[in-house]
Symmetry: D2
Subunit: 373 residues, 4 copies
């Protein structure tokens, strides 16, 4: 909403940073770099529009663009966006010079200065400056269901809406999702509730159409080494949520990300979602260690999906807390207005109350991280 004020006036926002306010978790400070003189009337006008929507607005100063910077704004949700590159913080983290650089992972490797990438998804962003909550049903089931779901997740502070329209199901006879119509419904719900949306693509031939509408493309665990699909999403300008395969090593996950980046799309978010082990008490075994290991080996943001690891609603909350504590940049969780009626993964869906509890319990953990990082 804020950003619209600038967009309407054709002012480039060359950098958007958000910082959680330590004293008030889940409220954020936004740092925005504006292309243009502070004195320009359209800039002043935009700032005036934004002021009432925020708690505090402060202009920190002006400085000329650095040469070589080609940082572009995140594409607006509904605009067919030009190739965009994620906003990067100049040098927030300590450099890690000792990490051996793997030439096979040239785009994925840590940056020499240790800077971590933030990937913008519509008006949300995923990166070191915030803890991003993505929530929504496993599958889009109907207009009614996805609108209810969108309302519910918005209410509880999620900033991106998830919902599968192309479901990769082990059985050919299981519900396979609503396809492009599902994507359509998801996007409508996202618009209505001002939530950017993420949805899975499974066939290369669907990617073009889905990328026209959805804000972020999800590559599922079963597709992590579907190299044709990786290359195809790498040819779009949409951010990509890349899930770790059920038995993929961390290095293979990084190699999969390199496929996407080598095709030109640098807006990749990695996601740990549980690996396959001998233990049957959980659907998969959440490998929380993957988060710090990935942070050593790449500059890309890392989030966690506790839902597909847990497989049971009651376990989603503790795993989510573990993920927040271990340093994930956010979470993607399955939430459904009515879990008992869910067509897919109902045993692991969070009901509205569960989601409320999750957010309440996450808040102090996230604040704790912010305090001490």
């Amino acid at each position: 909403m804020c950003l619209q004020a600038f967009a309407d006036r054709d002012i480039n926002l060359s950098k958007i940073e958000s910082r959680p306010r330590p004293e008030a978790p889940w409220e954020y400070l936004f740092y925005i770099d504006v292309d243009g003189s502070l004195d320009a009337p359209e800039v002043q006008e935009a700032l005036d529009r934004v002021r009432p929507l925020t708690n505090r607005l402060k202009v920190l100063g002006t400085y000329p663009r650095r040469a070589g910077d080609d940082i572009a704004p995140t594409p607006a949700v509904d605009a067919p966006a030009p190739a965009a590159i994620p906003t990067e913080k100049p040098a927030p983290a300590a450099a890690c010079p000792a990490t051996p650089r793997n030439p096979q992972l040239k785009n994925v490797n840590p940056r020499p200065d240790g800077a971590r990438t933030t990937v913008n998804v519509g008006r949300a962003s995923i990166g070191p400056e915030s803890f991003t909550l993505i929530a929504g049903p496993c599958a889009v089931e109907s207009r009614h269901q996805i609108f209810e779901a969108a309302a519910m997740v918005k209410d509880h502070g999620a900033v991106i809406l998830r919902g599968g329209a192309f479901k990769p199901r082990s059985s050919v006879y299981a519900f396979q999702g609503l396809g492009h119509e599902g994507v359509q419904l998801l996007c409508e719900a996202g618009h209505a509730y001002e939530l950017p949306v993420v949805t899975e693509v499974v066939r290369p031939e669907d990617v073009g159409e889905v990328a026209l509408h959805a804000d972020m493309l999800q590559i599922g665990a079963r597709s992590m080494q579907n190299f044709g699909l990786l290359t195809r999403v790498g040819q779009t300008d949409r951010p990509v949520l890349l899930k770790r395969g059920l038995s993929a090593t961390i290095d293979e996950l990084l190699s999969a990300a390199e496929y996407i980046m080598a095709a030109g799309n640098h807006r990749v978010v990695l996601c740990e979602r549980g690996i396959r082990t001998f233990e049957t008490a959980t659907r998969n075994t959440l490998d929380v260690s993957a988060v710090p290991v990935l942070k050593e080996r790449t500059h890309l943001p890392v989030i966690v999906d506790p839902s597909h690891a847990a497989g049971r609603t009651e376990l989603v909350l503790p795993l989510a807390l573990a993920a927040a504590a271990v340093g994930a940049d956010g979470l993607i969780v399955e939430a459904h207005p009515n879990p008992e009626n869910a067509l897919c993964d109902k045993d692991q869906a969070l009901a509205p109350d569960d989601l409320a509890r999750l957010v309440a319990r996450l808040r102090p953990i996230v604040a704790a991280r912010a305090e001490t990082d």
Copy 2:
């Protein structure tokens, strides 16, 4: 060559069965059902042509086609074949009435009478009546290489030539195969040496073109749950070699086969190729148990790839012997005229000598099976 004699005269061979001769392993008895009267001149002519090429030829008798039989000949290598159904033995094996039938696997489930399926691949076949050796390089590298490889594998008794043209590589910067040109070279080598060919497909959009040329389509381990690809190969009439995923359960492999069959293509061969475990002494852990378990749960043929399990040339031989003993219907092995120059998987390639030794050692094991089955 034999079959050509019938094809030239437009005589339908409605069933081709081969039986290993127990006293002389790797020699086979062929049982051929001919559509037509024994008295017809073109049938006599064909039989005359065949006689000198075989050691023994015996007409076992004539009988009218049973109603309901819609068994069709295997499509010739280079003909755009009509939808074909694998030749089935009437009732060779004991029925297994107790096996619970999974409605999600209706095409894959064991047949009520326990009959096992034979899948014809060009003039070769894979099923309970024979032990089929597929061999060739990991990747097609050049015309010279694939012709040398074809000569080598033909020499040592392999009946299908393998060679990858679309290689799914963990790293985007690794050799990815020669693509459609590689398929072309593979097919030329196959024709030259009268070997049907199998090659991997990885993207749905390539399937149509590859299916025009190759005799069998391979679905790699990393694609076992690429459901779009499964459906796509299910829409062709080519036999499909479906490999088990690195961490796929046996039931998930069967569910993947059901995807192909549900799309209309019943000519599916399953392949165990090693699963991912904690053990690092081998590239993967060959799960030989999968063979008897699969035989309980499906009528489809099951072969084993010892090469990708072993990861090292020296281990391919013992694993191949284990696979033969455990009841596999055949093997697919990587063999290269010049392993040290291989562009892909060189550490596990069999050199000509290794292949010779493999065949020599397999012979008595296969004979032993035949004696006691």
Copy 3:
């Protein structure tokens, strides 16, 4: 020290509870039930002795013992203690009536009223009321080393000192620990720094002697199904730290605990320390899900060992935070005054600075839990 004041006067402390002070993590409120009248002179005398050692002392009231209560005091560190039963909170948590009760786990199963057990270890305790930090070197190496280690861990707020004297090493030629002499040194360091100690036992024949001195007996991952050893420690009155085997299921861990309890010793603490999977980026894969699953299936306390999961110092901190967030009742970490000289597991040892950072980072996570539980 506090408790000594009561012990000196032969006053039974029938219950000791500690609560973290939410506003000041790592400070605790102690609730002590005293056997005897508040007016008795020896009780008054004892309270007078204790007062200056605490920040606040408040007598909450007096009440008669409930019938059927046979809760005994935790054995003092150096007294050959009679059979003791862990102090239990009357009914702190919600009952979980729905959990199916496994008759094979009759001692381990959740209590009907959902109460969780606290296990006292010398003057420390492990249970739902506190977050207990156990730290110390992998192995006791010398008097100097273990005293330095004890000073270091005491300094940073650990309340139990660990140190292995009998080391189960994969190689017979690796350093196997100092044996009973190592236990002796560990106990001396523990006394000097007023830290109860935990040390591993590996052979049944050593248990009696070690139990005379150490405050807690550790059963290592490799011994989790050493049933003779389980029974032997079950015959002592020492609390037992039972580690999950490298490839033990959660149910097998519970069954192992039942062995100890069936032998008469109910003071068992379970420990998740990483399981073996295909991933090689970490020494083991920490299964954080085990914590909430165990809490559903047993009333016993559950702690986490992030060190043996991580295998590398840098990963210990994030895994420790995850463990705290997921609901563990405490941690056991390897810390060494001089990691580069450690004789065992040096790559995963925390140096003094690392331990300081760990505690600083844990504090707000633990506080966050306390706020919202």
Copy 4:
């Protein structure tokens, strides 16, 4: 029986070799080196006694002992034998000079000349010269049961009788075996049917007593890293059957063998019995690759237990065939006169008919190996 003739006369048999007769599998040629002159009357007398018990007896010649040979006879079943070293073939196999020698495995490493070890167990032996079948019930249940079992396994050609008296059970409430009385019954049955016996030990304190009676000591999968137990059996002169742990790497298995050998007992036989993976269709996943890998890394014999891998009777046969084909030196299988009444592991027990079929199917595989090795 044959050997008794020499023992009665105090004649040392310095080498005993058996060779399967290729034309008649499961019959063997015995090559015996006799200490002493062929002309000595006691030698002639012994040969006369043996003649009628064999099909053919041929004296191949006489030669003086080589210097440095300290090969001792296998201890007789019931004699408290002095430290004995397994009979070794002079140089049957090709040397493997390239294998890197691990100093941590100095006793376990391949011999410089590539010679493989044969371990004698009573009158049976395990090594490259034969394929040894060990069979019997999971547990000794009663005198009647174990005598029936002994009769059954003898009948079908097994040469060593197995039976557990100390059962390591996940649940403390499950049948734990008959203990020393079970060992006694097993030995009586073994004597009655002239079968040496193998039985598991689980506690160091039982080893001495069991070693007095049993011919071979089994270390179970759960005890593979019970280092105290390994050392204890290493102090006896009984051959040891060392099973691979459920999630032990091949290298850890070798390190465990080194513990036994370092304690002085060189008569170790390794056993692959299935590892723990994600696949649930079998109790464990039989890692047949372990056999050739072990043969590269050690001179010790390697056998396979298909029963504990399979978990179901129907799968034992195919896994046994795979083990024979992959190069195992023998098998240990669970067989019970009455599987439905078995107190332990009944689902995987072979009934008499199953055992007959197993042996019939193994015969040609073993013969095939002999032909081509």
